[in-house]
Symmetry: none
Subunit: 406 residues, 2 copies
Amino acid sequence: MHIADNLELIQKISTPSPTKIVLLVIDGLGGLPNPETGKTELETAKTPNLDQLATKSICGLTDPVSPGITPGSPPGHLALFGYDPVKYNEMIGRGLVETLGIDFDLKPEDIAARGNFCTVDEAGLVTDRRAGRISTEKCTELCRLLEGIAIEGVKLFVLPVKEHRFAVVFRGEGLAPEVSDSDPQQTGVMPKAAKAQRATARRTANIANEFIAQTKSILAKHHPANMVLLRGFSKQPDIPTMSEVYKLKPAAIAAYPMYRGLAKLVGMQLLKTGATIAEEFTTLKQNYADYDFFFLHIKGTDSAGEDGDFNRKVSAIEEIDKALPTLTSLKPDVIVVTGDHSTPALLKGHSWHTVPVLLYSKWCRADRVREFSETTCIMGGLGRFPATQVMPLAMANALKLNKFGA
Amino acid sequence: MHIADNLELIQKISTPSPTKIVLLVIDGLGGLPNPETGKTELETAKTPNLDQLATKSICGLTDPVSPGITPGSPPGHLALFGYDPVKYNEMIGRGLVETLGIDFDLKPEDIAARGNFCTVDEAGLVTDRRAGRISTEKCTELCRLLEGIAIEGVKLFVLPVKEHRFAVVFRGEGLAPEVSDSDPQQTGVMPKAAKAQRATARRTANIANEFIAQTKSILAKHHPANMVLLRGFSKQPDIPTMSEVYKLKPAAIAAYPMYRGLAKLVGMQLLKTGATIAEEFTTLKQNYADYDFFFLHIKGTDSAGEDGDFNRKVSAIEEIDKALPTLTSLKPDVIVVTGDHSTPALLKGHSWHTVPVLLYSKWCRADRVREFSETTCIMGGLGRFPATQVMPLAMANALKLNKFGA
């Protein structure tokens, strides 16, 4: 067998076992120092439990995609799950990303597209690709109108996302995603016709154009949102599941749709959970007996970072630290604590900076790091490494990987 | 779009902005400790300005090509410019390297070959492939003679390089580089005929053989340099420019031809400059308003290392340190200081050792390194990493890269 990438190598040597792994993802964990104190959010937060765990762990810093690259949520998480974030992110079309973000239960045969409500003038030329960024309420109301459209042989879902953005899902037999965008990506021109990019997608293109035509008459009186633009026709990609690759029975605990969607994409079971940090940790405890891998996702740190709220990010980290004993008292064989990328409050957004990681197991070969932070993890036994290597390390520490080679 | 390598990924997400990057390359920067003091050249030099900058920076150590590999100047610089040094170095034929090293303005359609003056006996067998290493003056004189050769449809340039080495450039329409060497790479045999390796190169091979034939009669009385051997027929390779990849307006300040040649290869504007360290820094100051990326190359450190002159290398580093305020007072958004490889005086040549790097920006996440040296940079926040990642990191710190993935 030719081994094309690391995932294939892991799949070849992974083996089921009774050990359990918990991957705690603190979204946007890494930060930048507050100019007044010289300390990052994580360094400012009081984290006795994380520090105690770091003391027993091996630590390091990860590059989510590669040095200098600021990852969006999909590549950041794909990497943590062990999937090449560039290769697999490309398989996730824009339409699919929208449905991931709104908790829609996409079926393998469904075709999803990203939609914009837009404005066209009397000649039909696009004057505003975002229809003046109508409110999410307005978007929801218009999506309900459009869901009334009937097209023979397909079931339609028109799903509000945010402001002018929505997703449309076409469900039916024999549909194909190789359909070009109707969105011309500029103003002053007509929307394009959706075109089949291969013969098998002709029916899907016709259905898309029929949807657009009916939409146009329904929206005629709804200026500025009097037309739609579709792009990124896509289908659930053929990604090997975590059960196939790692022989795990994996479960996801995530309060936000995007992360549930990403977990589902790699075959995790989605667990019902409350949205607070404490509730998510309780969900872990309640389901601990039934799975051998848990992805526990905390969003609050990233949201605070995106808002530029240094102190709120500090508080979120402290809240996680308080909840940590719920996790550690379950005594998982392997605990990984890290983030999917950095979100420094100073930059008010995702960034390219490396992300602290700690890995605890009985076999981890603990280093001298005594505090979980950006500055101390530099000195850790894992050094600086690509985030795709986190899962192989977790698997090894759970004694779930056989020897490679005789 | 399928993303084949990191350069393509960067090209996809790079975006122009008013921020400026200065890449200061101290050629052969890395060294080895003087056995008497235990300190390297960089550790011996008094460098208050570099140390102050290191304190505000994130530091690390680069592998120019990969661990254990000693790079020549082309791969060392290609890596620093962000280009895969193995892949792109292969595109640079031997003939091209010679013209890069002598400041010749090669046109995209030109064919260049590396030439050796050699000695042949009466039977025409090669007896010395280097013609007893004739002087550079003699080489220059003979090249002038050969430039008188007339071949229909092409313009000829015969360019002295050093000792027995020269370059020949054929300029004309429809020439192709797929021509085999005339150099047999051994003595006791006849020079080979240049042969077309594909049909489109037949005319070029004929021209090369015509040049060799005329050369033979011109040089007949010039023993030991009574014949020439040609090899490495090559053309300017099709390399994406830095403007294409990074959306930068890049300029190069370099006193030595080889580095100007390499900078030109990736599309940098070459700035006129004086050759001393102070003059090169002044050139930076004078042109600072007109570009957003500067490659500033200092040769003296490498030359001293090659000569095995530890103290002269120390002095060169101290001279750079004294000039540094000219650079820092311009307040570039991103400053990178590093080398293209190590040239330890103890080894009297390029070496495989890692190279210290510091990266300063407002967003760099400074580490605890307070002194710019081989030993301290190990502790830096960048860890040890491939030199090809320097440019993505510089671009990220200049906020010139968009987020990758939704």
